[in-house]
Structure formats: C-alpha cells, structure tokens
C-alpha cells in the first residue's frame, strides 16, 4: 500500500519534471513573439519581410537583404560541406581501417566541440585575407562565411549519416556483394539509397545549424545590410543582424531585432519539423 503510493508519487514527480522541461519551448516562443510581434504589426508583415532597407535610426525595418544573406551563406555551406560530409560518413562506415576510425571519430567530436568563435577567428585570419588577395573584393564575404560554416556543419552531417549507414541490415550489403557488385557499387546503388532519408535528415539539421550560427559568421561576413551581387560581396544574415545590434538597441529597434528572431525561429522550426518528419516516416 505504502509502496504503491510511493510509485505513484515518483511517477508524478518524473512527469512534472518532463512537463516543465518541455514548457521551455512554449516559454521561449511566447516571450520572443510578444517582444517582436508589435513592430511587425506596425511596419506590416510584408514590408518587414520584403523591405529592402534596414535603417533603424530612420525607423526603416526591412529584413529582405538579411534573408537573402542567410540563404546564400547557408546554400554555400551546403554546396561545400555536404559532399565532403557524406564522403566522410561513407569513409567511417565502410572504408576506414579500425586504427584510422579510432582517430577520426574523436577528431570529429573535437571539431563539434570547439567554440564557434574559434572557427570565425580562423576564418578571419586565414580565409578572408586569402580571398582578398587571390579572388578580389574585401575578403569579408559570402564565400568566407560559406567556407567557415561548411567546416562547422561537417560533424553534424558525418555523425548522423554514419549512424544511418551502419544501421542498415547487413544483408543489404552482403546481398549486393553476393550479386558480384564491387564494394563501391554496393555503397552507391544499395546502401546510400537505403539510408537516403536519414542522410537527408542529417543535411536538414546541418542547414539548421548553418542558418542559426551567429558569432563565427559575424567575424567573416562583413555585415553590410545590402543585397549581394556576387559571392565575394559582404552580407548580413538574420543571426548577425541580432548579434551585432542587440548590445545597444532600444525601443522599436530592439523590437525589430526580436522580430528578426521570430523569422529565424520560424525558419528553424520548419527545418526541425521536416527533419523529424523524415526520420519518423521510416
């Protein structure tokens, strides 16, 4: 009797802990929306999202250049990072000798753990001057941001894709090899297609990471709030807009930064839900 009561009590306690944990997401949503929504109402949703001018001192809050900035830098990171990441995953799952794998895995883990500002700094002292001297432009550019972000999303893509490839039933590979395929044919025409949904989810999560990164890209993007015309132009992203101006913003200006946060939040939630949906469908 007494034990039964204790069991009930502990279940309730665990449930209460779980419910308070998840209320975090509600709390975050509510507070950011409350702060950001009024200015969107004032400026108008269309003018806020498609407005071309960001001039807080003149009361102009258009974030279209930042949306383009985020999209272009993220696209660049995906183009550079995803092929390398998938190769890395295939390498770890299929080709790496045990000794190499035991070096590679912790290295990827370290790559994931290093503060993002360190990557930004490295980009600033290496990538930026390299681009300026060899390709022209100010160096602080979409290209520099894409390179730094491509490196930063590698751990996400490599670890998740590797797990997906390793999780496939052995028979897939063995069957393919038994049919006389080479190792690469088995990977390319059997294993990768079978692990496709997991790899896509990895890429979507990588996109989310690239889109959400702030401090590293502040250091290498140049942060000019205009529409870029080439990958050598500086840009400002949604995240860097918040990161740079939050320190001194007040009033409408601060609200507009929260509104930028809402747009970022919505994009990231769509990406998250897509990734969850893809992995669950399996």
């Amino acid at each position: 009797m007494k034990n039964g009561f204790k069991d009930k009590l502990s279940e309730r306690v665990f449930l209460a802990l779980a419910l308070s944990s998840i209320s975090a997401i509600a709390l975050i949503t509510v507070f950011i929306v409350i702060q950001g929504a009024p200015i969107i109402g004032k400026v108008g949703l269309r003018d806020f999202i498609f407005g071309m001018t960001w001039a807080p001192s003149q009361g102009k809050f258009g974030i279209f250049p930042m949306i383009i900035g985020s999209l272009s830098v993220t696209l660049g990171a995906v183009v550079l990072g995803v092929p390398v990441g998938i190769c890395g995953a295939v390498f770890l799952a299929e080709f790496a000798p045990a000794a190499v794998r035991n070096l590679f895995r912790p290295a990827i883990q370290l790559l994931a753990g290093i503060p993002s500002v360190v990557y930004g700094f490295w980009g600033l002292i290496f990538i930026v001057p390299f681009i300026r001297d060899n390709l022209g432009g100010p160096g602080l550019s979409i290209l520099a941001g894409s390179i730094v972000l491509a490196i930063m999303i590698l751990p996400t893509i490599i670890t998740i894709s590797e797990v997906q490839i390793l999780a496939l039933p052995r028979q897939y590979k063995e069957g393919a090899l038994a049919l006389g395929m080479t190792h690469w044919q088995a990977i390319y025409s059997v294993q990768l297609p079978a692990a496709k949904s997991g790899i896509v989810a990895a890429v979507v999560l990588g996109i989310g990471r690239a889109m959400g990164e702030t401090m590293a890209v502040i250091m290498v993007l140049g942060n000019a709030p205009g529409i870029p015309t080439s990958i050598l132009d500086p840009v400002r992203t949604l995240t860097t807009n918040i990161g740079i101006e939050m320190g001194y913003a007040a009033g409408d200006h601060r609200q507009a930064l929260f509104a930028t946060g809402i747009v970022l939040f919505v994009i990231i939630m769509i990406l998250n839900i897509t990734a969850q949906f893809i992995t669950r469908k399996k």
Binding site: L9, A107, L110, G113, S116, T214, G247
Partner: protein, 275 residues
C-alpha cells in the same frame, strides 16, 4: 565512354579517402595554428591575473571564474530536469500523446539557434525577471540550451540498461521506484555523466547566448547577481575589437585545451560504459 566497375571503384575510393584526409587536415591545421600561437602566451600569470586595460594586459582569471560560475548554474539547474524527463520517457511512458509532445519539444529545443536562446534569456531573465546581466541570467539561459542534450544522452543511457536488470529487481519484489533508483540509475550513471560533461563543453564554448544575458563585465564576479564575462566572450571581444591578438590566441588555446580534455573524459566514460 563507360567506366568499368573496377575503375569507378578506384576513383570513388580515392575521392573518399581524399575527403577524409582533407577533413582531418583542416581540423589539425586550425587546432595546431591556434595552439602554436596561443600556448606560449599561457603561463601562471595569464591564468591567475585579472585582465587589465580591457584585456590588453594581465591575464584571464576573472573570465575563468565567470565561465565556471555560469556553467555550474546551467548544469545544476538543467541536470535534474533533463534526467527526470529522460526517466519519464524511458521508464514510464508507453507511447501516446504526452510522449510524442515531450519528444517533439525536446528535439525542437535542440535545433534552436543559440542567438534565439540569447534573445529569450535577455527578455525573460534580464528584463522580465529583473535579474539584470548576471551570472544567474547567463546560467539559466544556458540551462535551457543544454536541456535537450541532457535529455537525449540520459534517455539513451537508461534505455541501454538491460531489461533483465529490471526484471530481476521486480522478481525480488522491489517496487518500480526502488528499481529505478537502486538498479537502473546506478547502471546508467556513466552514460548520464557523459551527457553532462558534453553539456559542460557546450556551455564553455557558447558565446552568443551568454553575451546577451551575462554581459561582458571584466571585473571578478563575487555573486550570482554580478555581471560576468566568460572565456569565449572574452576571446571574441579581444579578437573582434582587435584589443590584443596575443591574449586572444592565448584564450583560444586555453578553450581548445579545455574542450579537448572534456572530450577525453567523456570518451573514457562511454568506452567503459559500453565495455
């Protein structure tokens, strides 16, 4: 022209090896470059002196203390909630609506960018709860941020405890609560500790969220209500404002060494855990 299976095998293998070597080389290059420039800066004085003239001179002791304080608050708050949630997910639910909501929220929380945590922490802790830029605001914000990591790693650890342990415990007429606290928790402890250590690493590495909530004061913090500056924020400010490249390298090297040690400890725990 059709490439033979053998040739394409060779090409693919070469490409994949190249990609892997490239990834390792880039990582090594970044780390070694920072260490070569930064290690000579680190000495006893660098670790124990407070920064002087904005960080141009002196050491980084107050930022080490700030990092420790903010991280401790985050972990002490997040761990009970995260581990409790993990136990609920792994031991009590049988699927169903609540489980789906919890899992969905935890996964969504994991994807939210740190700058959004920073915005939230700023408006909720700094302004609304009137805690100001402080160790407490920063730590609480980071607690939100590391919660999903602790939930996921703890749940995995709890699920990897063999079913037979629980069955034996029940057959000895232990209650569910006794089984969880006396059998499952001790067996899952290494895995849970691993998740917490990784979360500590995330707190130490974080910049955006702490900068907006803990501030960037260089004075040594004496209480939870004082503003503070963590090592990562210090490094960022030194580098971006060009205050002192030398001290920036030193701080970065210190951060890399700490993250490296954290990974080593975490891996040792997991490897023994898997056995």
């Amino acid at each position: 022209m059709k490439i033979s299976a053998r040739t394409s095998e060779k090409i693919a293998k070469t490409l994949i090896w190249t990609a892997a070597v490239f990834v390792l080389a880039v990582l090594m290059f970044i780390i070694l470059y920072i260490l070569v420039k930064g290690l000579p800066v680190i000495n006893w004085g660098f670790l124990t002196q407070v920064p002087r003239s904005m960080g141009r001179e002196g050491g980084v002791s107050s930022t080490i203390v700030g990092t420790l304080m903010v991280t401790s608050v985050a972990v002490l708050i997040a761990a009970p909630f995260g581990i409790g949630t993990a136990f609920y997910l792994a031991e009590y639910t049988k699927g169903g609506f609540i489980t789906r909501v919890i899992r969905f929220s935890a996964e969504s929380l994991a994807g939210i960018p740190s700058i959004v945590y920073g915005l939230f922490g700023f408006i909720f802790f700094v302004i609304y709860l009137d805690l100001g830029w402080s160790v407490l605001s920063g730590g609480l914000t980071l607690a939100f941020m590391i919660l999903p990591t602790i939930i996921r790693t703890s749940e995995e650890a709890i699920r990897s405890v063999p079913k037979i342990y629980r069955e034996v415990s029940f057959s000895l007429s232990a209650t569910k609560t006794q089984t969880i606290f006396k059998v499952v928790l001790p067996s899952a402890l290494r895995g849970i500790a691993n998740g917490i250590i990784l979360s500590i690493g995330r707190c130490i590495a974080e910049t955006a969220a702490v900068m907006l909530t803990a501030g960037s004061a260089l004075r040594m913090s004496r209480s939870l209500f004082d503003p503070t500056r963590t090592m990562a924020v210090h490094f960022y400010i030194l580098a971006v404002e060009g205050i002192s490249m030398e001290n920036a390298y030193g701080t970065a090297a210190l951060l890399i060494i700490i993250i490296f040690l954290i990974n080593v400890v975490a891996n040792t725990l997991v490897n023994r855990f898997v056995r």
